[in-house]
Each structure stands twice: as C-alpha cells, then as structure tokens.
C-alpha cells in the first residue's frame, strides 16, 4: 500500500524563479494539504484541497497556489521565489479532509 509520495526530493532555484512541487496521496485518500517546514520549526499550514477546490488556506501570500487533479494528486506552485521560501515542503493526505493526516517525506527547496 503506497503512502504519500512527493517529487522531486530536492530542488535548487534562484530568487525570482517559479517552482512546481508534486504530490500523490495515500491510496484511498481524497484530500491533500500542503505545509512549509523551516529548519527547527513545526510545519506551517499553506492550504488544503478537496474535490479539486481549495477548501482552507493558511497565512501565505498569493504567490503560493495549488491545484488538485481528478485522481486526487496535487501540485504546489510558488512564484517569484524569495530567499525565505527555502524550506521543506510537506504534503499530507487524509480521507474526507478529516484527521489523521499522513505525510510524505517532503521536497527540500533551496533558494540561492
């Protein structure tokens, strides 16, 4: 039973560029949430997708956007990258948007 998978595992970008991160949820899950985790901190909620719509959003600027596909997989897009966007980006999936959530191993994004 495949868990949550994320790609790529590591990405290096420069300031001002755009990036797309991808996530496939755990089998049987239909809801995907995205988190940003800075070094030494707990994850910060970015947004959640359910039935291909953004259902909840945390305190992140519009530079962060997402999409959910009919097969429940999801993408996180970040435009106009800043040095402060360097972090581990985690995807979590759940059933019906309810707890508990299961996490992938993340994409480590480094901005130079």
């Amino acid at each position: 039973d495949a868990g949550v998978t994320q790609s790529p595992t590591h990405l290096i970008k420069t300031r001002g560029q755009q990036v797309t991160l991808r996530c496939s949820p755990k089998s049987g899950h239909d809801t995907v949430s995205w988190y940003q985790q800075a070094l030494g901190q707990g994850p910060q909620f970015i947004f959640q997708y359910y039935e291909e719509e953004e259902r909840q959003r945390g305190n992140f600027p519009d530079r962060f956007s997402g999409h959910q596909f009919p097969n429940y997989s999801s993408e996180l897009n970040v435009n106009a990258l800043l040095l402060g966007d360097s972090a581990l980006y985690l995807c979590a999936s759940s059933r019906g948007g309810r707890q508990p959530q299961h996490f992938g191993d993340g994409t480590r994004l480094s901005i130079l």
Binding site: V4, G40, Q101, D105
Partner: protein
C-alpha cells in the same frame, strides 16, 4: 505567545529509560491531539491520535490529554536508540480543520 508551546530540547536519556514529552496550548477549543515522529530528512510519521481528554496506549507509547490544564504528554517506555528523532505535537479544533503544531522536541537515546 504561540498557540502551542513545546520545549525544543535536545532531551538526552539512556536506553531503557521512560521518556516524557510535553506540549502546552492556549486555545481551549482544541479537541483533536496528535503526536508525530520525524526522523532527519523524512516527513512526520503519525504515532498517536486522540480525541478530547484521557489516555491512549499503543505498544510502548502512551498519550495523555489534560484539557483542564491545556497540557498533553507522550510517554515512551523502554526507550531504544531507534526512538531518537524529533517529536512534534499537533492539534486542531475540529477533525476537518488545519493542524496547529509545536516546534518539536529533539530526543536522543544513548546506547
């Protein structure tokens, strides 16, 4: 003041010891409480999931919730070097609401 406070550690204990990890919170509306374990360069792994107050046991792990004190704990019995990781608490007001996280406690189990 953060909604969820967690001592960052590191907490270093000898193998076989009982470990106690704690979080305090300020929002009395929190009802769902979780503990995750995160190894270096990995995503958080769900350990325990509890609703409301009380205790829950799963193998060597016991989770306690004291809503009157706004305090949750995770106990690990017979700790092993493989338990060395960062332990994160998370909580939410409703099952379909966003999680609010502590900063995590780094635990080191010495052989």
């Amino acid at each position: 003041q953060k909604e969820v406070e967690q001592d960052p550690g590191p907490l270093s204990v000898p193998e076989g010891a009982i470990v106690s990890l704690n979080c305090t919170y300020s929002n009395s509306a929190f009802q769902y409480f979780m503990w995750y374990r995160q190894y270096s360069r990995k995503g958080p792994e769900l350990l325990m999931y509890t609703y409301s107050s009380g205790n829950k046991e799963d193998g060597r792990f016991t989770a306690q919730v004291d809503k009157s004190s706004k305090y949750i704990s995770l106990f690990i019995r017979d700790s092993q070097p493989s338990d060395s990781a960062t332990y994160l608490c998370a909580m939410t007001v409703g099952s379909n609401y966003q999680l609010i996280w502590g900063a995590g406690t780094k635990l080191i189990i010495k052989p």
